[in-house]
């Protein structure tokens, strides 16, 4: 069969539909540079001498790299009694984050599941309360919390406690569970599984994206939290990394930006590692939430 009409793909090309959108790419490239440059600068700066670090744009293209900043940083934070040690800061930050992430996953997923699936008196009110709590910033309740938990100052538990239960995490779990087909649970009930077994064996394995999202978001929040540990800690042995870097800045009469950059890298690397480990499910979760509106 012959035809005078060109194939659809050819016609589209002619009209320019399939043309590479260079303008969009250029715009995206500009945004990428704006967002990535500070991170690049942080990493590169941490391997430069203090004088180089502040050498304007030239600092972005280093002539030589050195580990001196990391070395001096480890010297500064070697003693665990007076200044605290880097290992100690890492241990505190890791333990507090682990408590918040693990505890948060358990508590918030159960709360989200109950709100999404169970019928009980006051459910709607509780859901409304969760939504309202999402918009209240932590700073607004920091002072009342300080007085409530004053007896636990300079402990690990007090650094984690206010962040375990999170309205945002509950809401994230709630929306995820709402979109899981209820027939899965019904099939499990008919198969003979009780509510706990259904949650652990059926719901939980299918909610990995939600768990990954909550884990990443709460880890980032707690790992970089500053105000609360600043209020609740005054001893180096319970300082998390964020307080330690703050103290470093305060201690130096002349700011050593090389050291600050190096400390910044040490603070950021665990977050990046955590994100890389969970990003597969995190991205899937964000994508699925996008589709479902």
């Amino acid at each position: 069969m012959t035809t005078d009409n060109p194939p659809v793909a050819t016609r589209r090309r002619r009209r320019g539909v399939d043309r590479t959108p260079w303008g969009t790419y250029a715009l995206l490239a500009v945004f990428m540079v704006i967002f990535l440059f500070p991170v690049y600068y942080l990493f590169v700066g941490s391997f430069e001498s203090p004088s180089q670090t502040l050498d304007g744009l030239r600092a972005a293209i280093p002539s030589s790299l050195t580990l001196a900043n990391y070395h001096s940083l480890s010297q500064t934070f070697f003693s665990s009694t007076i200044t605290g040690s880097l290992r100690g800061f890492y241990t505190v930050s890791t333990l507090v984050s682990a408590l918040v992430v693990a505890g948060g996953l358990i508590v918030n997923s159960l709360a989200g599941y109950a709100l999404a699936r169970m019928q009980f008196r006051g459910r709607r009110f509780l859901l409304l309360l969760v939504i309202v709590l999402v918009i209240i910033p932590f700073e607004a309740i920091a002072v009342p919390l300080y007085y409530m938990l004053n007896g636990l100052r300079n402990t690990l538990i007090v650094q984690a406690l206010p962040f375990v239960g999170s309205a945002f995490s509950i809401y994230l779990f709630y929306t995820f569970f709402l979109n899981l087909p209820p027939q899965l649970e019904e099939a499990a009930r008919i198969d003979g599984a009780g509510p706990w077994r259904t949650f652990v064996q059926i719901i939980l394995p299918n909610a990995k994206p939600a768990f990954a999202s909550v884990a990443i978001l709460s880890f980032i929040q707690i790992w970089s939290s500053y105000l609360w540990p600043l209020m609740m800690t005054s001893q180096p042995n319970v300082y998390p990394l964020s307080i330690a870097i703050g103290n470093l800045i305060k201690q130096q009469s002349t700011p050593n930006y090389g050291e600050m950059f190096a400390f910044g890298v040490l603070l950021v690397v665990p977050m990046a590692v955590f994100f890389v480990v969970f990003q597969r499910w995190f991205i899937r979760s964000v994508a699925s939430l996008g589709v479902k509106g």
Binding site: Q183, A188, I190, D191, G192, R197, N206
Partner: protein, 387 residues
Amino acid sequence: MSEIVLRHVSKTYDNGYHAIHDVDLTVREGEFMVVVGPSGCGKSTLLRMVAGLESISDGEVLIGGHVVNDFTPGERDLAMVFQNYALYPHMTVEKNIAYSLKLRKFPKSEIDRRVREAAEILSLTEYLGQRPGRLSGGQRQRVAMGRAIVREPKAFLMDEPLSNLDAKLRVQMRSEILQIQRRVGVATLYVTHDQVEAMTMGDRVTVLRAGVLQQCDTAQVLYDRPVNVFVASFVGSPSMNLLHATLSDDATRLRVGTQTLDVAGAGPRPRLASYAGREVIVGIRPEDLTLEGPGEVLSGHVGHIEALGSELIVHFGMDARNYVVEDKGGSAEEAEELLEETALTEHVRNVARVGPRSAIATGESISFRVNMERAHFFDATTGESIW
């Protein structure tokens, strides 16, 4: 004994919505019972009440002779196949099928034996190690069946299990499900909105409308002796032609629009005489209208023709008012209200099935012979059949 018995079962939701209204139903041991009705009629709710997934507001459900109203779904010893299969996505086919047995703490050897046996019956052996996401619709359907049969339950419940399949696969799976059910031999309650599926699969078929059981009988009885105009119109495809008509004072002739039909050949209908001089609804199945042969004559004009190869479906209009059954789901109260009627004099609402090579053209006038012996009569007020 593994009968399913429903005694005066009702369901009222907290908001007052009356979904199921005093249903009495028995699914005998080994019987394949299909519940059919339009969307929203309460058929899935009824099934879920038997499964224990919905509470029972009133009445009793008995399985194997025991009242199970207060039993959890797991304690009822039923197996259910869902519309979307509800396979556990994170488990392999083997684990999906074995899950209920594991929960019941069957020995591993027994679980393996049953799973292999079910997989063999359902031709799933080579897929046992795969996850449901990698299977086709038909294969998923088989896994759902496997999960049901492996338990050797007291009864099967199936909630529109074929509605997600394409037409060809649906026909194939119909016979597969029937074969499996015959092999296992347990009472089965099967819900569908597809009346063809209901008629072809059910040992008996229950027609439900707005939560009210209309009729429960074999497919042939539903087709030949529907208890009311709703069942008459719901069962059969294309639907029965329903027309407003008036019986003569001596109950021998029927006036349909401007035309008159002799009802002498309508067979023994003792109650018809009591409708002398009154309005009735006359129902004629599409295959009871022929182009030749004996019978009363009914004329109209051809609207359009569907050529199916084996037959022609002729849509034609008449100068008579059609009776339209409101088949949408609604409350039980609505179901008890009078069936709505709509004047559609000029619309092409009647259907006849004629031979594939009949010489008919769109827009032409047409005369059909009516097999009055097979005609149906309904009370114009209550919609009940007149026999």
